[in-house]
């Protein structure tokens, strides 16, 4: 393990009671923070302090705390999921910060994700996009033997890379247009790369993009901010594949 040392930090946090209420930054001091702690363990410490003073704790989304469930969010010092690459906020550790540093913590800020309280936002729009077509239309029980269709390792691996999206929403939060294209394209690509999903690929692309537009997400103008901030390194080439499927669907109309 790395060498443990201790920090004092000032945490400047966005506090907002509800979706319609006005929010503001508040700064709290946390002392004697071990560099071995995760960022959330520092937040837990801060919340314990607040509760002990009979103040309400800071609300933030988290669950697995190991980078896979996609529940955690947060803009930390101006970057989604904080100041380390290819990780989620829950994987961020305090050794990445300096003693006496002021750490700014904000919720995802995007029209698609309204704030519920403090740092917690509503990402149900992502579920609605998936409902529009993020599946293969087969019923349980009717499947043939799993090895009946061979799939090249290259395609399977690429599909896996696309499928590794955790639905966190960092791509939307990072995008100046608030576009959900990286998220949508990850799912469309995964299926388009596999024979089981190919059949409906074009229809799926069209349905999911239409739903995304309906829900008020912006357009993609290729700024690539999404790719840079995605904790799972989902590639922007997925968007190109999505566009191809989308054009196919339009031509078929």
């Amino acid at each position: 393990m790395g060498k443990e040392s201790f920090l004092n930090v000032n945490v400047k946090v966005w506090r907002q009671r509800g979706p319609k209420e006005k929010g503001e930054f508040k700064t709290y001091r946390v002392e004697h923070v071990s560099t071995e702690m995760s960022f959330f363990e520092m937040m837990d410490t801060l919340n314990e302090q607040l509760i002990n003073k009979h103040e309400e704790p800071i609300v933030f989304d988290h669950d697995c705390r190991e980078g896979i469930c996609g529940t955690c969010s947060l803009y930390i010092n101006g970057r989604p999921h904080g100041i380390d690459d290819a990780i989620t906020t829950c994987q961020l550790h305090m050794r990445k910060f300096k003693n006496e540093e002021t750490i700014t913590v904000e919720p995802w800020r995007s029209a698609g994700f309204p704030v519920i309280r403090d740092l917690m936002v509503d990402r149900s729009a992502f579920d609605k996009i998936q409902q529009a077509g993020g599946y293969t239309s087969i019923n349980c029980g009717a499947a043939q033997d799993a090895n009946a269709i061979l799939i090249s390792k290259v395609d399977a691996d690429e599909a896996m890379d696309s499928a590794s999206c955790i639905g966190c929403g960092a791509c939307v939060a990072a995008c100046k247009n608030g576009s959900a294209m990286l998220f949508v394209s990850a799912k469309v690509s995964q299926f388009a790369l596999l024979p089981q999903g190919k059949v409906e690929a074009a229809r799926r692309a069209k349905a999911m993009v239409a739903r995304m537009d309906e829900l008020g997400f912006g357009n993609c103008t290729n700024t690539r901010a999404c790719e840079m901030e995605c904790p799972k390194s989902v590639k922007i080439s997925n968007i190109a594949r999505l566009n191809r499927e989308f054009i196919k669907a339009k031509l078929a109309d």
Binding site: V59, I138, G141, A146, L150, K153
Partner: protein, 658 residues
């Protein structure tokens, strides 16, 4: 000592016939519901993990009207998402001698002969359908260059039957179930209720006076309001209760609440003491630690576990004077390979965990706390090359490095056992129905298939088996008798009464206004559990643990402080409600562990071991499922024994040595 009863064997509802024919016979003779009637029948599924998500999707596909609930903001985030290593199936694609029978046999043996034969056989039987179903959904399992599916090995098996998707198998399987669920939501067959927590089940008497599960009371975690939902049947698929220990590999919201609520309403709680301690987790670093991270069992395919042979080397490691890779080969003790030559590093989890504890207790631990052993990849890297190792385990290595700031390609990983999974859970019959009519339980929340110890990659298999391939048949069989029953209004007095009960409990918690945070009490619970109901249990320790748990409950009611309001978003209240149920889970675990005077699987009683320190079962007195029946607040629960009758398998001492 608790009052004991022998359970009527008929209660288990195991179909007649030869073991291999039971499930086929059941399906051939079960009752069906026609499509027009299905539309008139509502089913509540609590939980959207592999078990709940798969069940809700499939029941929706069949045409039932399903309401599905989860705590997270989206069903895609259920704790199943975190499973890393893989899922077992008896496909025998590797032609290494696997079969349905062998998977069945390995599961019974791995569970230390404490699971029900008929259920386990069915599990092995449907395992192959699961893989077919998932591939059809577009789950990107790992493949060979020839295009066929790849497999790896997991503990407790000598065949390679584990299917995987990088180190993210649970994620991919759950996203598969989620996609099927989404299709049904879009079609209007499933209504999804996210950020809801079930806080009680509602029972209503039918015309014959039989109580049946007809609804639930939920707390809306965003508004804090209590909500009522009704249905013709209720499925509880709410996962395991490992977080009773505070520190575990489970996600933060995993809980034992729903299980305790239905236990209070008459569902029996079976084998609560069987908890799995996983041998390969990242060691604890300090008091403020909030959870433990698993390093997948798949790592034991290529990683070798060792500690130094010499005590002085261990001391120098503990003081940080040297690092693992500096210790020469001849001074390393690969203790699993030494003690268990036949299975080596791939012994089952309970065996590997105890062996690590044994070495550390003797002073051979390798980190500053003395509570860690090495998991070393240097041989694998030499043999296969860094690229191959990275391809197989890259994301796990990255995860390890992010947490510990150590590079496992260069120096061995440090690991230690941690609470991971609970084999115990709500008792269910062959149809996965609890002792309450119309109340079903699936996935990790039930007790069914893993006996006293679960083999790696078998929980995903069981969750999906229950959800995709068992409940859709058995629920239909139950509902076939309910087609005349109209939909229920939530204005019925039974709903009001249940809601009032929940509200009273919440008000009581809010009213304490003590001086301790919920987490501080939960941590104390965790310490009690780990010390007294952990890896090595004794009569005296368990008795003391039970006493401490009783005191902790009093502490809760005197000293807990929950800020904010009940009728609003309140994350501290969410946790306080769960904590109260964890204390009760803890008591049940300790009570069960105390009564089970033997060692089996994940339950190790120090009084019952062989001279070599292996677990010593007592089949004569304990070959049963221990089911606890709630008798009312403050009263001792009573024990019902479901005797296990092995017809197919010869019961033996587990042997992983030769």
């Amino acid at each position: 000592m608790a009052i004991e009863h022998i359970m009527d064997p008929a209660l288990s509802r195991i179909p007649e016939g030869k073991l291999a024919d039971k499930w086929t016979n059941y399906k051939a003779h079960q009752k069906l519901v026609n499509p027009a009637n299905k539309r008139k029948l509502d089913i509540i599924v609590v939980g959207s993990g592999l078990a709940g998500g798969a069940a809700a999707a499939t029941l929706g596909e069949m045409g039932f009207k399903v309401k599905c609930f989860c705590i997270q903001d989206s069903p895609r985030r259920a704790h199943s998402i975190a499973a890393q290593g893989g899922i077992n199936a008896a496909k025998n694609y590797q032609n290494d001698g696997d079969s349905v029978y062998r998977l069945f046999y390995d599961t019974i043996k791995g569970g230390d002969y404490r699971a029900r034969e008929a259920n386990v056989y069915r599990l092995a039987e449907v395992s192959n359908n699961i893989i077919d179903q998932c591939v059809a959904q577009g789950v990107p399992f790992a493949r060979e260059y020839g295009g066929t599916l790849a497999n790896r090995s997991f503990g407790g098996a000598q065949v390679s039957r584990t299917f995987y998707a990088k180190g993210q198998t649970g994620q991919q399987l759950l996203l598969g179930a989620y996609s099927s669920l989404n299709r049904q939501i879009e079609k209007g067959n499933v209504t999804m209720y996210a950020r809801r927590e079930m806080l009680d089940v509602v029972l209503i008497k039918d015309k014959e006076g039989v109580e049946r599960a007809r609804g639930i009371i939920c707390r809306n975690l965003v508004t804090g309001q209590l909500e009522r939902y009704s249905a013709h049947a209720v499925v509880v698929a709410t996962g395991g209760y490992g977080n009773a220990y505070f520190l575990s590999t489970n996600a933060m919201s995993c809980n034992g609440g729903a299980a305790i609520q239905i236990y209070h309403k008459g569902a029996m709680f079976a084998n609560p003491c069987y908890a799995q301690i996983h041998p390969t987790c990242i060691p604890v670093h300090g008091d403020i630690q909030s959870k433990l991270t698993l390093m997948s069992e798949s790592l034991r395919n290529d990683g070798r576990i060792w500690v130094p042979k010499k005590l002085e080397d261990a001391k120098r490691l503990q003081r940080g004077e040297i690092r693992g890779h500096q210790i020469p080969e001849e001074d390393r003790d690969y203790y699993l390979e030494r003690r268990y030559p036949a299975f080596g590093n791939l012994v089952p989890r309970d065996v590997a965990s105890r062996a690590a504890k044994e070495r550390c207790d003797k002073g051979f631990g390798v980190n500053s706390t003395g509570l860690a052993v090495f998991l070393d990849f240097s041989d694998a890297i030499k043999r296969l090359g860094k690229d191959v190792v990275a391809d197989k385990y890259g994301n796990l290595f990255q995860m390890y490095q992010k947490i510990t700031d150590d590079n496992p390609y260069e120096t061995p990983m440090m690991i230690y056992p941690a609470i991971h999974y609970t084999m115990g859970g709500i008792w269910v019959d062959y149809e996965l129905m609890t002792t309450v009519k119309g109340l079903f339980c699936a996935g990790e929340a039930n007790f069914s298939d893993h006996g006293a110890n679960r083999l790696g990659a078998s929980a995903l298999m069981q969750g999906l088996a229950d959800g995709y391939f068992v409940l859709p048949y058995t629920l239909q069989n139950y509902l076939a008798d309910q087609i005349q029953v109209p939909r229920f209004s939530t204005d019925l007095p039974e709903f009001k009464e249940a809601e009032d009960g929940v509200r009273a409990k919440i008000e009581k918690i809010m009213a304490v206004q003590g001086s301790r945070t919920v987490d501080s009490i939960h941590k104390e619970l965790g310490h009690i559990m780990w010390e007294h109901v952990g890896m090595g249990r004794t009569k005296a320790g368990l008795e003391e643990g039970l006493k401490k748990l009783g005191e902790l409950r009093k502490t809760f009611w005197k000293e807990v402080y929950v800020p904010g309001e009940a009728n609003s978003l309140n994350t501290e209240l969410d946790k306080a409600i769960r904590l109260l149920d964890f204390i009760e889970v803890g008591e049940l675990m300790a009570r069960d562990a105390l009564h089970r005077e033997e060692s089996c699987g994940g339950h190790f009683r120090e009084e019952h071991q062989t001279e070599e320190g292996e677990a010593k079962r007592d089949d004569k007195n304990f070959m049963y499922v221990g089911c606890w029946k709630y008798m009312g607040e403050g009263k001792e629960p009573e024990l019902y024994k479901e005797m296990l009758d092995y017809q197919e398998i010869k019961v033996q001492t587990r042997n992983y040595k030769s």
